[in-house]
Amino acid sequence: MAETISTHGAAGAAPHLDYLEDPKGLWSWLTTVDHKRIGLMYMWSVLFFFLVGGLLALLIRLELLTPKQTIMTAEQYNRLFTLHGAVMVFLVIIPAIPAALGNFALPLLLGAKDVAFPKLNLASLYIFWIGAVMAVSTLLLGGVDTGWTFYTPYSTSTGGGVSLMVLAAFVLGFSSIFTGVNFIATIHTLRAPKMGWFEMPLFAWGMYSTAVIQILATPVLGITLLLLVMERVLGVGIFDAQLGGDPVLFQHFFWFYSHPAVYIMILPAMAVISEVIPTFSKKTIFGYKAIAFSSVTIALLGFLVWAHHMFVAGMSLFAGAIFSFLTFFIAIPSAIKVFNWIATMWRGSISLEAPMLYAINFLLIFTIGGLTGLFLASLSTDVHLHDTYFVVSHFHYVMAGSNLTAFLAGMHYWWPKMFGRMYNSRLAAIGCGLVFVGFNATFLPQFVIGSRGMPRRYYNYLPQFQDLHVASTVGSWILAAGLFLTAAYLLASLRGPKTAPANPWGGRTLEWEANSPPITHNFEGQPVLQHGPYDYRANPAPVGVEDAH
């Protein structure tokens, strides 16, 4: 175990209170600029909306138990999946890892006292809350029934709270941009002394690549959504065929953001996995540079391929071929990562704690999720599979299955650091197992439903699909059971005493040099790096602490 020159009250000095307690009171939380507190508040918000989105999903599954009406009408169903999609994408998965875990962990990993712009960070949280309230209050206006993709001309002609929902997504975009700006500036300027670019933990590389996408893509979403509102309010005509506009143009605008956005979702997940696997294999990461560069490559390549969502929207043969061709290249950096992680485990000293279980869960599910992307990237098979349940299953495998398991991995990994408390690891293993089984039971059948031809966003379906829908619905209950169990033991752990050691897993990155939970400014003095991030050679001196003043 790394021996920490830690901070636990070095002889005599008055022990600092941890950031959870100092200062106390709701007001001090609401006005805090401490990245750890902001990260935690983000985390609770995200978990809350995950619960909301998940309950909506359970209702979707319940409705699909039988063809025709089961518990609701077609209109209600359409509003339901739109809200589910919008909540999960804009309120859960995009902020989940960067804004919640990243905010908490990134400065610690870099040996910094905070992010570069703490006030901007707080602003981002408030903007997130405003956007979230706006999104949810569309329910009062009769809901939104466009699907999370807001395709025109349906979205410009239907009633309800579309404009409000779209403005909510616009506002949420800003919170995402602010996080991105903050992270890039932090990584550039606030690394600990002697921490070169390649001595940074890989988590930082992941956050950096994510932030690049957030900055380059999100503004286009902003203007797209504004144009949509203008189309609804003023009838500006750009997306309206009757007025000489082009409804398909909207899809370009939308996917220019939303395809890169799927990498906003997966890169942070990969970043977490790159931390968890070396720690629990007690072995240095295999192919540091390859993993770092593949993050950046994925981020940049992700901007060239968005039109693969539009293969059947009347695109020419030539354009289709180019976009399909480019799409395939993203598989390469992804493959490199997957194999490098497995190679990291090779000859390691593997300990199956909860975070590692979730990481393995991630590896398995991402393999399926990513490879099913290839069916969709390839022209002739996408024509068959586009907008069927196969796509639904693909993106749940990568978003719910991969990203959220990585989020859970990260939460379990940093939980002792966040709260200074350990959770029940046996229950954690059971929870992880239930999530794995339940997840696959829910979504594997959907691949088959899809390839047999059932379209998505279908309230009513042909009786021949029912068996598999029933299987999927039952699966969603197992999944829910796993997640509720997880929520239960995590919450229960918060009632115990703060007994977690500073470095419970034997990690070698800087956050483990801080107290659990850390003091308000993270470190006493400025940590100075003395070895690379994943150096497990026998007892190296971990870091020195240089008192800056």
């Binding site: 905070d114 286009v220 003023l234």
Partner: protein, 222 residues
């Protein structure tokens, strides 16, 4: 507020404006500037989306756009271009004055910049009210009579969206400059610490930069 906790920082030659989580002023300046540039990139892409939409619709309805742009007043557009260019000039001088600790000059130039911005908005006001009067309004509110080429409403959709969004940016820029002005009067800035002036300047120049493209694309197409 964040400076309060670790007052020790201020001692070592760094100014009282050093925030607790930075080690020295240079680092803080660098971060602020980088942050602003990243933000400017998002602005470029935000406006960029509108430009892309404009370009595509222009290519699709060249006759309509051509006919519609005659309703714009080239002179007013040109005057506004000159006003904005001058304001950029005064802004950069304000930055220079701050860099060289010339407080009075800095205040003066900031006020001049604000004045230019004001002139810009006044001219814009006259342009808008003229359009309103003629029914040259965006989308379904377009009521101009006697068009020979149909479809001109779309030009005005873009005209109002682009100049409107730009106008909002001018307003935000004015608020930022006002805030800098207050701080300059308070005497916050010197050659040691001027990054707020600098980054506000960057923002203001971007607003100018965007107008540099809006002007020929909307007023001068032929």
């Amino acid at each position: 507020m964040t400076t309060a906790t670790h007052t020790g920082h201020a001692g070592d030659g760094n100014s009282k404006f050093l925030q607790h989580h930075f080690r020295e002023m240079g680092q803080q300046f660098e971060a602020a500037k980088l942050g602003m540039w990243l933000f400017l990139v998002t602005e470029v892409l935000l406006f960029g989306g509108l430009f892309v939409g404009y370009g595509i619709m222009h290519a699709r309805h060249p006759e309509a756009f051509m006919a519609a742009h005659h309703h714009l007043d080239k002179v007013m557009g040109a005057v506004n271009t000159v006003v904005l260019l001058i304001s950029s000039f005064t802004m950069v001088l304000a930055v220079w004055a701050a860099q060289t600790s010339r407080r009075t000059l800095c205040i003066l130039f900031l006020i001049l910049t604000l004045l230019c911005a004001g002139v810009f908005l006044v001219v814009k006001y006259f342009e808008y009210s003229h359009k309103f009067h003629d029914g040259l309004l965006p989308g379904k509110y377009y009521t101009h009579q006697g068009d020979t080429v149909p479809g001109q409403f779309m030009f005005f959709s873009f005209y109002f969206m682009m100049t409107g969004l730009h106008g909002i940016h001018v307003l935000i820029g004015m608020i930022a400059i006002l805030w800098i002005l207050v701080r300059a009067i308070r005497g916050d800035f010197s050659s040691q610490y001027y990054s707020p002036v600098d980054i506000t300047g960057l923002y203001w120049h971007l607003v100018d930069l965007i107008w540099i493209y809006v002007f020929p694309l909307m007023y001068l197409i032929s």
